[in-house]
């Protein structure tokens, strides 16, 4: 059974059709890319899947269960995590707290136990801290644990966002232009990291990327959006020479 099924997803902002009849079937373990020019509707697709917006029309199913209408945290708890196109860390909080906050729903102690700092509370807090530090280790961020998130260098902030997303223990990870603002060396390392994470955490991934070069490198399958419409989908090779894709990217008359 597919992990994620999106059927006829359509979304309007007022009169603007941001996403039109978007369909996607995602098998467990796949790494799929979504590309398209500015304003094509890519981020909106993520916002619809994660419950930030409620779609005007369409279905979103995870393991065959409907996600439309759930609050975002409930969707996250079903196993979908994401990062943001423009970094949205909890800037004034410590790096450690950024990750610990994402463990919110794993906590079993009651608010009363939180008041009293009971034995159980201490034990669970210790586990949460260990788990968060383990993630920081993986992303080479442990030495920043106490620093405010806003004081991290840009690349580290991007990695922290991924670490924070993984702390929610997702099965499906949505990455919104993770390579934005990175230099070629950093991009290369990021691509390796994504592939490693995918194996290590057994993730299914949807990757939005502006730069075709990146997606071509690691995605098995690509879907191309333009003005909300899916104009092409297929293997990277097929996409590369697809006339409508070239047209969308380079303008009419080129293809």
């Amino acid at each position: 059974m597919p992990l994620l099924q999106v059927r006829g997803l359509t979304h309007y902002f007022g009169g603007l059709k941001a996403v039109a009849n978007f369909n996607l079937d995602l098998e467990p373990g796949e790494l799929v890319g979504i590309i398209g020019p500015n304003g094509a509707g890519k981020t909106t697709v993520f916002n619809l899947i994660t419950g930030v917006y409620r779609p005007t029309e369409g279905q979103i199913l995870l393991d065959g269960h409907n996600l439309v209408g759930l609050q975002p945290h409930a969707i996250t708890n079903k196993g979908i995590a994401r990062t943001f196109q423009t970094i949205r860390l909890f800037k004034d909080l410590s790096v450690l707290d950024n990750v610990r906050i994402a463990c919110y729903s794993q906590v079993r102690y009651s608010p009363l136990a939180a008041f009293l700092h009971t034995q159980r509370f201490r034990e669970e807090e210790r586990q949460t801290r260990e788990e968060a530090l383990r993630l920081l280790d993986i992303f080479n961020l442990r030495r920043y644990a106490q620093a405010q998130a806003k004081n991290l260098p840009y690349g580290e902030q991007r990695r922290l966002e991924i670490a924070r997303a993984l702390a929610t223990r997702p099965r499906l990870l949505l990455l919104d232009e993770p390579a934005a603002g990175m230099n070629p060396g950093e991009i290369q390392r990021l691509m390796e990291l994504i592939q490693w994470l995918r194996r290590e955490f057994q993730l299914t991934i949807i990757l939005i990327e502006h730069q075709m070069r990146v997606v071509m490198g690691i995605c098995e399958r690509i879907q191309v959006l333009d003005f909300g419409e899916t104009i092409a989908e297929g293997k990277p090779k097929e996409i590369q020479n697809h006339p409508r894709v070239l047209e969308a990217y380079l303008g009419k008359g080129v293809a």
């Binding site: 930030v52 609050q71 909080l93 463990c103 700092h117 702390a167 929610t168």
Partner: protein
């Protein structure tokens, strides 16, 4: 092992002093009264800080919750329980007043699901005004003339105990997953939801806890003054609490202790100004919001208020 052995010691010593100094007349009645107001204001400030400082909302009706606690506890001690029981049932009475206020907090939490910032401020402002008008219109509890007949059940020691309960309850709560959820709402509510924080649950908790302690403060206040009327709980009173929060510093318990102490004593010293001293609060609030919106402590906490486990674990991380 425990590097904080001195903390309980100092707190216990202060407790002894809070009983002995008044008992032997070393603190005169006036100073006792000022001290009790300082304590009550600390409770009000820390509790409002949870919503305005830690969570980053802008609630401006804290006196409304205080009023509910003040009236419920007063009605209980005057009408329900025999006068002679007063000292024994006082803690229970305060808690019931706090629970009444908490219920109102629960109701105010719901609009906060959908609105933020200015709009939520208007909701809490309206709440404060509604409470005041309702109290003014119930003749049975004195209407605009107010309600009296309470014994002076509040003393320095009781205030001290409730200040400690407030400090450590809210400190503990802030340093928990729920507390971090509250912080994440201040930082970025949408991102908080998307990393699994149930922001509705968190907001309910913050408002309920905040108003509970405001209710406790109201009960203590009513049993110092032995007389309450709706005009004690107007927007002006709420403004005072706002000033103390933003003066001391948002997101800091030590800040609230400082803010409440400094402001209460300042107002006491300005008594000769007469009615003009009521201009000081709103004026100070405007100046603070423009020049130093984060206050004296602004998001920093005094070391003695950090949980020992956090300090030890943090030290382990960096070493």
């Amino acid at each position: 092992m425990n590097r904080r052995w001195w903390l309980p010691l100092i707190l216990a010593l202060l407790f002894l002093l809070s009983i002995l100094l008044p008992h032997f007349g070393i603190l005169n009645l006036y100073l006792q009264q000022v001290l009790m107001y300082v304590g009550i204001n600390i409770i009000l400030t820390i509790s409002l800080n949870l919503v305005n400082g830690y969570m980053g909302e802008f609630s401006v009706g804290h006196a409304g919750f205080m009023a509910i606690g003040a009236y419920i506890s007063s009605l209980l001690t005057v009408w329900v329980f025999p006068k002679s029981w007063g000292p024994f049932v006082f803690p229970l009475v305060l808690i019931l007043g706090g629970l009444g206020a908490a219920l109102a907090g629960l109701i105010v939490a719901f609009p906060s699901f959908k609105t933020r910032g200015d709009y939520l401020a208007i909701v809490t402002l309206a709440f404060n005004m509604i409470i005041k008008s309702v109290l003014e219109n119930i003749e049975a509890i004195g209407g605009p003339r107010g309600f009296m007949g309470m014994s002076k059940l509040t003393n320095v020691a009781w205030v001290y105990v409730w200040v400690l309960i407030t400090i450590f309850a809210i400190r503990n709560f802030v340093f928990s997953a729920y507390g971090r959820g509250i912080l994440s709402i201040r930082e970025d509510e949408v991102a908080a939801e998307l990393v699994s924080v149930n922001t509705r649950q968190t907001k309910i908790l913050a408002f309920v806890i905040s108003s509970f302690f405001a209710g406790i403060a109201g009960g203590l206040f009513a049993h110092v003054l032995q007389f309450i009327n709706p005009r004690s709980f107007t927007i002006l009173k709420s403004t005072d609490v706002l000033v103390m929060v933003y003066l001391g510093g948002i997101g800091s318990i030590m800040g609230s202790i400082l803010g409440a102490s400094i402001y209460t004593i300042l107002l006491e010293l300005l008594r000769p100004l007469g009615v003009w001293r009521w201009v000081v609060g709103p004026l100070l609030l405007v100046i603070l919001m423009v020049t130093r919106p984060r206050g004296i402590m602004g998001l920093r906490e005094a070391r003695w208020l950090l949980p020992a486990e956090e300090v030890q674990a943090d030290a382990a991380v960096t070493s």
